[in-house]
């Protein structure tokens, strides 16, 4: 029946329209939050680069440098800090990050410090060793939390809970491209050969000692890295969501124009049918 299908189409158009409203709103929200997120990335960058430079300087300051944080150990267990989102509807953002973890880890045993609700859920379902489930809300994790994580992870490394520490996050390349990345955090990268060759470069006074200063700032270094990764990931999530929602809105628009065409055709068909019915009725008289 033409009338019923016309009604069906109308209901369908209404439903697609309301979906489009949601996707449009989400796109707008993501765009406005993205601006703040990008500012945060820019703000955190100088801190991180200076800290990294200082750490490298200290490590290469003398030829006999020794710290438990640079000692390479036999790798029995690896720990991953995995930053994902709290919500879906962001294209492949979450699944890409988990794929990156799976590829990096292979079949070996590993523990995870998940950040973000999706990350917690994913690794919980797979019955992985979770360091803590405390950071299930990626938007609320602040710099203080990162320092807590830095401390927990540095302690865990020293205790021997794991022998290597990696950070898995999403790099914000541009509005359209976000790439998952894996970075090694512990042990801190240290090239013994290079240290021997370069020799003592400058006479810097360390108080109380270069090792003590180094060990003191390693947790902060980890925290800084996590915070940097977090800022990048948060911007990436919003970017991915914006792109996904943009595509969804476009699709919805196409669907609506398609359905309107069908609706108009159905309407025309029903009018034509009514006309022929009237005409043939009149003829029969």
């Amino acid at each position: 029946m033409a009338g019923a299908s016309m009604k069906d189409i109308k209901i369908r158009i209404k439903s697609v329209e309301s979906t489009m409203q949601i996707t449009k709103a989400m796109e707008l929200v993501a765009s406005s939050k993205l601006r703040h997120a990008k500012e945060r990335v820019e703000k955190a960058r100088p801190y991180f680069t200076t800290l990294h430079a200082a750490l490298t300087d200290i490590a290469y300051s003398n030829t006999e440098f020794a710290s438990p944080f640079i000692a390479k150990r036999e790798v029995k267990k690896v720990c991953y800090v995995v930053i994902a989102g709290d919500r879906g509807l962001a294209g492949g953002y979450n699944s890409n990050i988990f794929k990156a973890v799976e590829t990096a880890a292979g079949s070996a045993a590993y523990s995870v410090l998940p950040i973000g609700k999706k990350s917690v859920e994913y690794f919980e379902r797979r019955k992985k060793d979770l360091v803590t489930k405390h950071y299930a809300n990626v938007e609320d994790v602040n710099i203080g939390d990162c320092f807590e994580m830095g401390k927990i992870l540095a302690d865990g490394f020293l205790k021997g809970d794991f022998d290597e520490l990696y950070l898995v996050y999403t790099n914000f390349v541009s509005m359209l491209s976000q790439v998952p990345a894996t970075v090694k955090m512990l042990p801190v990268n240290y090239d013994e050969e290079y240290a021997k060759q370069s020799g003592p470069k400058n006479l810097i006074q360390y108080e109380p000692s270069s090792e003590a200063v180094f060990d003191n700032i390693v947790p902060q270094y980890i925290a800084g890295m996590i915070y940097g990764g977090l800022s990048e990931s948060w911007a990436s999530e919003l970017g991915a969501r914006r792109t996904a929602m943009d595509a969804a809105s476009k699709n919805a628009g196409e669907m609506i124009s398609d359905l309107s065409l069908k609706y108009n055709r159905a309407r025309q068909a029903s009018i034509t049918q009514e006309l022929t019915e009237i005409v043939s009725g009149a003829e029969a008289l």
């Binding site: 703000k43 801190y47 200082a54 006479l203």
Partner: protein, 133 residues
């Protein structure tokens, strides 16, 4: 008076980048002061009041927590975990943080929790002390 290039960076951005006559900081080994032509020097920082004398002689105070300072010939960099100018400290928030920390200290069940609470209390006290001056 002669000045040197001072930079203060935290994860929240750059707080200071310019010339200063003097900066007093609290390190893990105690308070120290840096002036122009200081020898190359690196140390870790603890929680305390930082006092900076700017190029024009004005004195600025701030609550500084954690991180490190690195002094080289060209530049002195304070890489702090948190840094708050005295005038931007929210006294009410600091007091709330202090009460919370005291509560946490009472409820602490292990050494780790106790240490965390103690550090938090120290940060809050520094901020309150600065804000009340």
């Amino acid at each position: 008076m002669s000045t040197f290039h001072l930079q203060i960076v935290t994860p929240d951005g750059i707080f200071f980048d310019g010339q200063a006559q003097r900066i007093r900081l609290r390190g893990t080994e105690g308070d120290f002061c840096i002036m122009k032509n200081h020898t190359d020097f690196v140390t870790a920082l603890s929680t305390g009041v930082t006092r900076i004398i700017l190029e024009d002689g004005t004195v600025k105070e701030a609550a500084c927590n954690g991180g490190m300072v690195s002094v080289t010939k060209d530049i002195t960099r304070v890489i702090a975990v948190t840094f708050e100018w005295a005038e931007s400290i929210d006294l009410q928030r600091a007091q709330a943080a202090k009460e919370q920390a005291e509560q946490n200290l009472k409820d602490a069940t292990n050494i780790k929790e106790q240490k965390l609470a103690e550090a938090k209390l120290k940060r809050a006290m520094t901020r309150i002390h600065l804000a009340q001056d």
